[in-house]
Amino acid sequence: MESQIKQRILIGVFIFIAFIYVIRLLMLQIFDDSYIRYAQNNVLQEQTIYPARGLLMDRTNDLLVYNDNIYDLFVTPEQVKNLDTNSFCDVIGITKDEFIARFERIKRQKGYAIYRPSIFEKQLTIKTYAKFQEMLFDFQGFYVDVRTDRKYKYSNAAHIMGYIGEVTEKMIENSDGYYRLGDFIGISGVERTYEKELGGIKGVRYVLVDSKSRSQGRYKSGEFDTAAVAGKKINLTIDQKLQEFGETLMKNKIGSVVAIEPNTGEILSMISSPTYDPNLFVGRERGNHYMELLQDPTKPLFNRPIAAPYPPGSIFKVIMSLIGQQEKVLFPTTAYGCGGGFNYGGLHVGCHPHGSPLPLQSAIMVSCNAYFCHVYRTVVNNPKYRKVEDAYNKLYEHLASFGMGRKLGVDLYSEGTGFVPKATYYDKIYGRNRWQALTTISLGIGQGELGITPLQMANATALIANRGYFITPHIVKKIEGKKNPNPEYNIKHWCTVDTSYFPVVINGMEDVVNHGTAYIAKIPGIAICGKTGTAQNPHGKDHSIFFAFAPKDNPKIAIAVVVENAGFGATWAAPIASLMIEEYLTKKHNTRPALVERMINGNLIRKSIINDSATIKTSKN
């Protein structure tokens, strides 16, 4: 009897335990589907296929940027066996202490697992990679992953092309998870503006892996895989030869050059000096080089042509000549006398000696200060307008139509607006209705509060060359597989000055080069129209400025050159512009070897450094 009860109790216990296990199985296998996901995480490895980044070429299809393999060393800690640490450290080029420190660092990283690969050393040199491959079997648990990085064929145009770098946490967040830690992205220049086109689209491959992360074949024979789409080839508008020549001329100088094809708005060359070798931003020293450049007092990373504003100096007189005519206060025959300057009600603006009185065309040629103070006065004090303020606003409107005091919309990152004061700006200083032409007279000769970027100067030159319109300057000419990639770069932006007012001004500019202040820029056989400028610089020696276009009829190139702290426009800026025009139009730059020599050897950088920081401060406005 008792034994029967005991037997039943025992069988009861067996069934009870079995019941508990069945309930547990129900929970695990039927009611909880998270284990299916865990199991997938275990065996499914998502491998990213990186597309080749798009190539960059110049307007003549000369290759500028291509891709080069880089080699990252990975380690799977669990698979490291019988490692000869000494020979390993020798090959990689690190000390034993560092080897240990690396492992400690890897262990602290997010997502670390002993059976998963972690990056051990980024971007091995090709030599190290070759040595490593030879000894691969001695270094179990280590392997090299090949990625591509940028390689620059020429050491030019660094600011235009920009550079790529690893994405930051913030970029990853903003990209909706497209970018992953370690991915490259365009940080500046064309690499940044055209990231979408150049970057291509990453592909994904799903691979089954075992517990040691060893590949066990495709998942569902590649049903969910996507192929990578390579980045698009892009043709820049720049002419590599012109760019290279210009950079040589600008060596050891602080300043900018912008050259534009007037009838298309294509930027033929854009130089920011001092520049740097774009190859510095490749490879594992990338970060160090960046810090060095950042700390350089000449600010090589600052993209001067599109961001630094300068007082335009005398080249502004050309603009005022056009606006004065449009406002009907100036005619080609208008003549003003100049007795060594502008004297009006106790105000004096100096001028150099020249014949007097002069009509408009000649006044441009000799760059008479007195003449253009009168022009400015008549424009701002124009009785046609009820108030000075209204007349000044009209002037502002004209200037804006020339592309001044605003962003033009170039396809490059960090474009500046420059600075043209509004009427309210003077209201703040002098009080409403308490200022007039004479109060702001220095504006008439391009001095004072004005700030124009070299890009805006070159654009204004192109506008004059076109006799009244400009096309927004841009840097990309062609994108592979895209017809008319940027329709906004086909639009003619007409300025507020009629075409009929241009010839007299252009004739004056031709005279400037043929027998005026920029005689040094004259090239036999090419009709160059230009104007020198000398921007007063409160912090040191004046900036040398020149803008020009050529040939006079059917112009092919419009150029603006600024050389900081270099003195008269004729000394440095005009020769550089002239040489670059010659190079572009005739493909020759050896007709004036002495001049080339003098430009290349001119070292103006030491004088500039002291003043540079001050200049850049004003540029932030």
């Binding site: 025992l10 079995a18 199985l25």
Partner: protein
């Protein structure tokens, strides 16, 4: 003994059928757990399944041998078997080979033998013989003491070999002693103490004491209170509180840091991603991802790609769970319970006390393995490395379980001829 007419032996075919199903099923699971498309031959002697196939053949041969010999042999040589296993156990200290940190193996050619596996049936035979002897009354304290000694001797040696799992299996003989007269409340108290110990290690003692007082108060509020009951309840609460506190004290102050870590990992308080915690997590993933009907034979990614550790030995149930799903697991558990039930009935129908005690030993050992092994893969039991009988890879285990089972089938087959001659 008087000469009598022997009736023909009646072998219990149901048990043998179940045995065959388990062994063949086990082989298929081992095959699945190390399956590679490049090497699909089940008789490959370099692979686990090839070796297991060989062990199955050997086991079948031994099983037939057992069915042919005179069943009195087992009675006669019971102590001899017991002595032999003890000697083999001791021999491992001298000629043992260390495998995975345990020195419990003896190498024979390319195979290893684990004497600990055979010690189980040594104990089963010796205990059965001792308790079925003349004038042996289990109520006698001396008999109890000797019974315990028979069980504890090999258990202690195996513990010294660092094979905690195999040693714990001997605790299952408590079931046999229960059937033979050990009071049930002693067993219940033993189980309760184990549960209390685990709870004490998992929770802060204060919480446990508060819950005990609440439960006791609720209990006294609900039932008719007698003075004895109140005193008894108070006593139990007082004792439990003291016990829990002292366990906590020992754990915090007496034990070393590494011992604490080991216990924490065992209880799942700490996740050791390389050790036991990782094993259980991967085991749950494999079983859980099997779903209702499984991924299909040879399609289980978790087993195939080695995420489950010890997948052909201790965690073989993962293969069943992943590839055959809930349905397969349910059928397996049901079949296993049917076997235990069948064996219990068979044990009870024995006329001889020797046969009955031996039968219960078999049931107890099989049940204990089932309880711990399946519980471990389901994350309900601590990770104690013991195989799933007839299924797990391992020659020693298969052979010893086969011998254990077939001796009983042999004894049962001849039960009709048994007088109570051994009593």
């Amino acid at each position: 003994m008087t000469q009598q007419q022997l009736k023909p032996a009646r072998i219990d075919w149901l048990t043998i059928m179940l045995y065959i199903v388990f062994v063949i099923g086990g082989l298929l699971c081992i095959y699945a757990s190390v399956y590679k498309e490049t090497n699909p031959y089940i008789y490959d002697m370099n692979m686990n399944y090839g070796k297991q196939l060989l062990w199955i053949v050997i086991s079948a041969f031994i099983a037939m041998l057992i069915l042919l010999v005179d069943e009195k042999l087992f009675y006669a040589f019971a102590y001899g078997f017991y002595g032999l296993t003890i000697i083999l156990l001791l021999a491992t200290f001298v000629i043992g080979t260390e495998i995975k940190g345990s020195s419990s193996w003896i190498r024979v050619g390319s195979f290893q033998i684990q004497p600990a596996e055979f010690a189980k049936f040594g104990v089963a035979l010796a205990l059965a013989k001792y308790l079925s002897g003349y004038n042996i009354d289990f109520k006698n304290w001396k008999v109890k003491a000797i019974s315990f000694l028979i069980i504890l001797l090999p258990m202690a040696i195996i513990l010294l070999q660092n094979e905690t799992g195999s040693a714990l299996v001997f605790a299952s003989f408590a079931i046999v002693l229960y059937r033979e007269g050990l009071p049930g409340w002693l067993l219940v108290i033993g189980v309760l103490l184990i549960v209390l110990t685990i709870v004490a290690l998992l929770l802060k003692p204060l919480y446990i004491i508060i819950s005990l007082i609440v439960i006791a108060s609720a209990f006294l509020f609900l039932v008719r209170r007698t003075q004895l009951l109140i005193f008894l309840t108070f006593g139990i609460v007082l004792f439990s509180s003291a016990y829990v506190s002292s366990i906590d004290y020992i754990f915090e102050n007496v034990m070393q840091a590494h011992q604490r870590t080991r216990i924490n990992v065992l209880l799942g308080k700490e996740v050791d991603l390389k050790g036991a915690g990782y094993n259980v997590q991967q085991s749950l993933i494999a079983i859980g991802s099997g779903g209702a009907f499984g991924k299909g034979y040879l399609e289980g990614t978790q087993n195939k790609f080695r995420f489950v550790p010890e997948q052909s030995t201790d965690f073989i149930f993962c293969t069943i769970g992943e590839e055959f799903g809930f349905l397969g697991s349910f059928i397996f558990i049901t079949l296993y319970i049917v076997l235990l039930w069948r064996l219990t009935i068979m044990a009870e129908r024995q006329r001889s006390k020797f046969n009955r005690i031996y039968g219960y030993s078999l049931v107890a050992i099989l049940f204990f393995h089932f309880l711990i092994n399946i519980g471990m893969t389901l994350g309900l039991m601590p990770v104690i490395g013991i195989p799933l009988p007839f299924i797990s890879y391992g020659g020693s285990a298969l052979l010893s379980f086969t011998i254990l089972l077939f001796i009983f089938i042999r004894l049962d087959a001849n039960r009709v001829n048994e007088l109570k001659n051994f009593e």
